[in-house]
Symmetry: C2
Subunit: 333 residues, 2 copies
């Protein structure tokens, strides 16, 4: 407690931008709360909070706030795409823990000059994604503000045996990723540089469905979604599971949009996949013996690496060379 | 559906500020969703959404977004007060339906120049109110933005027999209000005009506790919290319950802060109570035969009127004169 107090005294001169990003800030703010509620199974620290619903079922709760000109620009995004991305990004957090999204509550701060047409189309996008994932918007709050700010809090459910967290990986597990990666960063680079190509991976990302997540969860150990890039997600799993990991760069499934943009810009599509984020694919670890059983139910995934002992750290193998797996890539920050 | 489409075509030239306020906008946006989930007991339209948890229990879900310089100014509010008001306003929505708050999830958009000290103190206020009401902050999202924007989504629980809505009033019920009214507007008028006095009703509003709400819910019919002023809350109950109402102005319990500010400014403290809002007291309707039983458990309330037949409309009786009960008072808008 005295440590916290000492830190607070310093806080007058320190800006939130100076303390090492969002994770450091959230960690600082949540440390000072004593959680005594036995129904809180997981609080801050995973894709969702996990609350006991009954003996068999947990509630999953997650929130995402999107700010205009920080998370999206109306120059690039149609209103439907803004609404869709808000829902898909939250759904991705629910399915990454093995759950199904159920109920969403939306808050909006709207500048007074916002047109009704914009808000109607925003909600068309919200409802289209909600229908796709079988969830219901149950309420919200609407207020005035200088900036367009959107928040969706999403509540989902998961049966206890299907609950998958970042902390459940074991040494020896294979590391797998669904679909292809780098499509969000590929699309963003196209938009930034005026390159022709498929930008939908950035403008219209799609979360995996809860049916797919259930199929994976029945065989996998740890699971997380790709919101900050494969490297960062693997690092989160290692940190929470107390393991190391090795990733084989050449096995990373690249999206065509990533390849197209990277070639045009003389960049690396693998970097888009490793450090780009917002692909909303699932990364999971799975015992080798479960792979065949999973394939009979769901096969849109690639094996990209293996969990190792913690002492081996996190390694990226590229063209036969081993290097430490960096978590971020300044070029994109 | 064609009606909705027709309205949307109009929307290109219409601004959200032009269509009659927040309620009209929310109504428009929620009409286009078909709710088929049988677990959604109440969606949009009451203080909280109500979701079936199990045979005996419902989840209550509510969200409030606060925008700097619209909902609060750092010139007047200490950071702890901003955090406290965020929690208390949401708790008030939960207890107004007879429930107990359980789990909160906070999203924040923070300007880069925000000091750590500000955020630490904001969370001190959040946690102080959370402890007071026995709820746990289970997560959230933190992002950058030009404006400070806060959103709290709060999940509570209520046993089915204690669930109280705006729609449960009966003709003949007495209309009661807890505590005193006008303290938020009184405090605001003091701040705006530099009048000395107790501004805590505006800066540090306190929601009623779930224990108090349980005691009331066991005897009351309809219940709602005072977030927009007594007149507006009574109108909501009448609309949802299909009744009329008569309010006796002289029986409205006035807060001392309302009297002090109104006297200094030659305004009406009753207007503060009727049209001011954010007092976070509870308005409930109750059969006359239940009043004595309630008083043995909870007695900090006043009887201010009676529910009537719908055909009688909503009436305010002042100094023996009857007039239609207005819902708002332009002076404060």
């Amino acid at each position: 407690v005295s440590h916290v107090t000492a830190k607070k005294r310093e806080g007058d001169d320190v800006r939130v931008g100076d303390i090492g990003g969002e994770f450091a800030l959230i960690k600082r703010l949540t440390e000072s709360q004593q959680v005594t509620d036995p129904d809180v199974i997981i609080g801050v620290g995973d894709d969702c909070a996990v609350i006991r619903k009954d003996d068999d079922t947990c509630l999953l709760v997650t929130a995402d706030m999107m700010v205009e000109d920080d998370h999206f620009s109306r120059e690039w995004y149609m209103p439907e795409q803004v609404g869709g991305k808000l829902v898909e990004s939250n759904v991705s957090d629910i399915v990454s823990m093995g759950g199904a999204p159920r109920h969403g509550i939306i808050s909006m701060s709207l500048p007074a000059q916002t047109t009704l047409s914009f808000v109607d189309r925003l909600y068309d996008g919200i409802y289209a994604s909600a229908r796709r994932h079988g969830l219901t918007i149950i309420g919200g709050d609407t207020t005035r503000g200088d900036n367009l700010v959107l928040n969706l809090t999403l509540i989902g459910e998961v049966k206890r045996p299907l609950l998958r967290t970042r902390a459940m990986a074991s040494e020896g597990d294979l590391i797998c990723v669904t679909g292809t990666l780098g499509k969000s960063m590929g699309g963003l680079r196209m938009l930034m540089s005026g390159i022709e190509g498929d930008r939908s991976g950035h403008l219209e990302p799609r979360a995996r469905t809860w049916e797919e997540a259930h199929a994976i969860a029945a065989h996998a150990h740890a699971m997380i979604d790709v919101s900050d890039g494969l490297a960062s997600e693997v690092a989160h799993i290692c940190e929470q599971s107390g393991t190391g990991a090795v990733i084989y760069r050449d096995r990373i499934p690249l999206a065509q949009a990533a390849v197209t943009a990277a070639e045009a810009l003389y960049e690396s599509a693998y970097d888009y996949a490793l450090y780009g984020g917002e692909d909303f694919e699932l990364v999971f670890t799975i015992p080798e013996r479960e792979i065949d059983a999973l394939r009979t139910e769901f096969d849109d995934f690639s094996i990209v690496g293996r969990m190792t002992a913690r002492s081996e750290g996190t390694t990226l193998v590229s063209d036969g060379e081993r290097e430490p797996l960096r978590e971020g890539f300044d070029h994109f920050l």
